[in-house]
């Protein structure tokens, strides 16, 4: 058990190192001169030479990467080309918003998705199943930003009941927060709920097909008892493993939702940086989101270990 966790931790560190190297090298080969980007185009050749050496641009890529990595652990991710501010400061303001959105919407979509999934599986073939499955299929098929725009039009422009933009943390102004967050949260969670409903349904149906369920039925046990004691427990284990992927998906999906509702999060920052070719910020964004994702996958594996004792034997 301890050995497995240690191995998994080590694996995570290696993957993160590779990801950081990849982002550094990929973005580093971009034809954009960091010196002109940082200090403006009126740098004299003599100054250019000095800065060139001070920034270590004369060293090979691998050395520069390690310098960058060491600075990263010191909390220095360089200076943004567009804002002329430390990248850490810019990201620090934004990452909280995105993480808040992603985590809360994951927390909303899991119980709801599992509930709907259980209903559809238990009522298989009845109208509840048909309706919920149809709704889940359709909402999983429509891109989040399309739903967001449609809702934005209905609630903010047509009926004028909700604000169309902005973000306030709940601890600053709770009423305003709820009014601003309700639409983005709904759009972000909808895809998650739909996906989890579908997966819970198939996992539950799979569990219902097992021999022990047939044995339980032939023993004459009540259907409700079979569902709650045998099917639920086994059917819901695979769903727990989806938490990591979902959280990662939410981080990705929030890019679009933040864009529609003008929420100042990582997504908006990333798109702006791509448009302005703000290399250090893009690097930092990719690294941060990947780190969140790795952590989410790690937590998933640990959860799996906690709920399914069979896995630790491997």
């Amino acid at each position: 058990m301890g050995k497995y966790i240690l191995k998994r931790l080590l694996q995570m560190v290696v993957v993160m190192l590779l990801v950081s190297f990849l982002t550094y090298v990929l973005i580093g080969i971009m034809p954009r001169d960091p010196i002109y980007s940082l200090y403006g185009s009126d740098v004299t050749p003599a100054e250019y030479e000095v800065i060139y050496h001070r920034m270590g641009l004369d060293k090979p890529v691998i050395v520069r990467y390690f310098n960058w990595l060491i600075n990263f652990f010191k909390g220095d991710l360089g200076t943004s080309y567009a804002y002329h501010m430390p990248v850490m400061e810019i990201i620090g303001q934004k990452i909280g918003v995105t993480l808040y959105l992603s985590i809360v919407s994951t927390l909303i979509s899991f119980p709801l998705g599992m509930l709907f999934g259980i209903i559809t599986a238990v009522k298989r073939g009845k109208w509840q199943d048909t309706t919920l499955t149809l709704i889940a299929n359709i909402s999983a098929s429509i891109p989040g930003f399309v739903i967001a725009i449609a809702l934005l039009y209905l609630f903010c422009i047509n009926w004028k009941v909700l604000p169309s933009r902005g973000f306030t943390f709940p601890w600053d102004n709770f009423g305003e927060h709820i009014r601003q967050i309700i639409l983005p949260m709904f759009c972000l969670s909808l895809g998650g709920i739909a996906g989890i409903t579908r997966q819970t349904r198939s996992s539950m149906l799979e569990a219902m097909r097992q021999d022990y369920v047939r044995t339980a039925r032939s023993k004459g046990l009540q259907e409700n008892y079979i569902i709650s004691k045998h099917v639920l427990r086994n059917g819901l284990i695979p769903i727990i493993t989806l938490i990591g992927g979902r959280l990662a998906g939410m981080i990705g999906g929030s890019v679009f939702i933040e864009n529609v509702f003008s929420i100042p999060g990582m997504g908006t920052l990333m798109v702006n940086s791509v448009n302005q070719i703000d290399v250090p910020v893009i690097q930092a964004c990719v690294l941060m989101t990947s780190a969140c994702m790795c952590l989410a996958f790690f937590i998933t594996d640990m959860l799996y270990l906690a709920v399914d004792p069979r896995i630790s034997l491997k």
Binding site: Q11, V15, I27, N137, I149, Y153, V271, N275, V286, S290
Partner: protein, 301 residues
């Protein structure tokens, strides 16, 4: 699989054809057994036909700018009105179908080819090659798809072919993993053992037995992947970093239309509806193909 001269010699071409036809009929019967899948097939065919015959269907040049006729409402001259530069929205939507479908299909096809080749390579070679390829998947899976796409766009720039390439890169790890897993399952089966014992060369085993038996989950995955890719392409174009103007893509039309949501809501909602309909149709078709190819999953999700 009738490329092998030995089997071709045993059966006449006619027999092979009729066998294929029966298999195809059976496939189609399972596919069309659910009404909702038929809706998906019709929807997908409709959009494909629109994409192919775009120049015939579109009444105007999608990039023809008429500044005195901008943001018009529905009329007989402009079925869906005009956009903010006075371009005919209906023609732009028709041409946008091309961009969406082409990007989706091309990138998925390339990802399938590269991914399944590498997947089979990983399963076939094992050892260090396998470890490297799995590590590659691990690394790419740890970067959120959207972050990876944005990075690659920064590097290569937008535009249709670049988008197809970028979406291919993000799609490869999924196919690689799937093909590796499914090849490994096939390689452990008894008929591969029989083929080995009968002295068939490993390459022949691979293309004659492993590939045809391992490919069906890939086909299922690919049909679902096309929809996802189209979603991603329109999403990136919507963010303003994907397909470059003036090329009409549904995502970029939505992006251009956003400021006019208050004045002319249909301008924004029409491309949204097209996008939703295409992806719903593709997903229904994908479900149908999955049911027909993999009976064990029938009606499960």
């Amino acid at each position: 699989m009738n490329t092998n001269p030995e089997t071709v010699a045993k059966k006449t071409t006619k027999q092979i054809l009729s066998e294929k036809l029966t298999a195809f009929r059976k496939f189609m019967r399972v596919m069309t057994s659910r009404k909702i899948v038929v809706v998906g097939i019709i929807g997908t065919l409709f959009f494909i036909l629109v994409a192919i015959f775009a120049p015939l269907i579109a009444p105007q040049d999608p990039n023809l700018i008429t500044m005195d006729g901008k943001l018009q409402a529905f009329s007989s001259a402009h079925w869906f009105g005009t956009d903010y530069l006075g371009r005919d929205l209906y023609s732009r939507l028709v041409y946008g179908t091309r961009v969406s479908i082409l990007t989706g299909v091309i990138s998925t096809l390339m990802a399938v080819i590269v991914g399944s080749f590498l997947g089979m390579l990983a399963a076939y070679c094992g050892g260090i090659v396998d470890k490297i390829l799995i590590g590659y998947c691990e690394v790419f899976n740890s970067i959120p798809g959207i972050a990876l796409s944005l990075t690659l766009i920064t590097l290569f720039g937008g535009g249709m072919m670049n988008m197809a390439f970028i979406l291919m890169v993000t799609g490869i790890p999924g196919f690689l993993r799937m093909m590796r897993a499914s090849s490994l399952t096939v390689m452990n089966s008894d008929y591969i053992l029989a083929a080995k014992l009968s002295g068939q060369s490993r390459l022949k085993q691979l293309y004659k037995h492993v590939f045809p038996n391992a490919i069906s989950p890939i086909i299922v995955m690919a049909t679902q992947h096309v929809g996802m890719t189209i979603m991603m392409e329109s999403g990136l174009s919507f963010l303003g970093v994907g397909i470059k103007i003036p090329t009409a893509s549904w995502g970029s039309i939505i992006n251009e239309a956003r400021p006019y949501l208050m004045i002319d809501p249909w301008y924004v909602l029409l491309p949204c509806i097209c996008l939703a309909l295409l992806i719903i149709s593709l997903n229904l078709l994908g479900d149908g193909i999955r049911d027909a190819l993999d009976p064990s999953l029938r009606g499960e999700s």
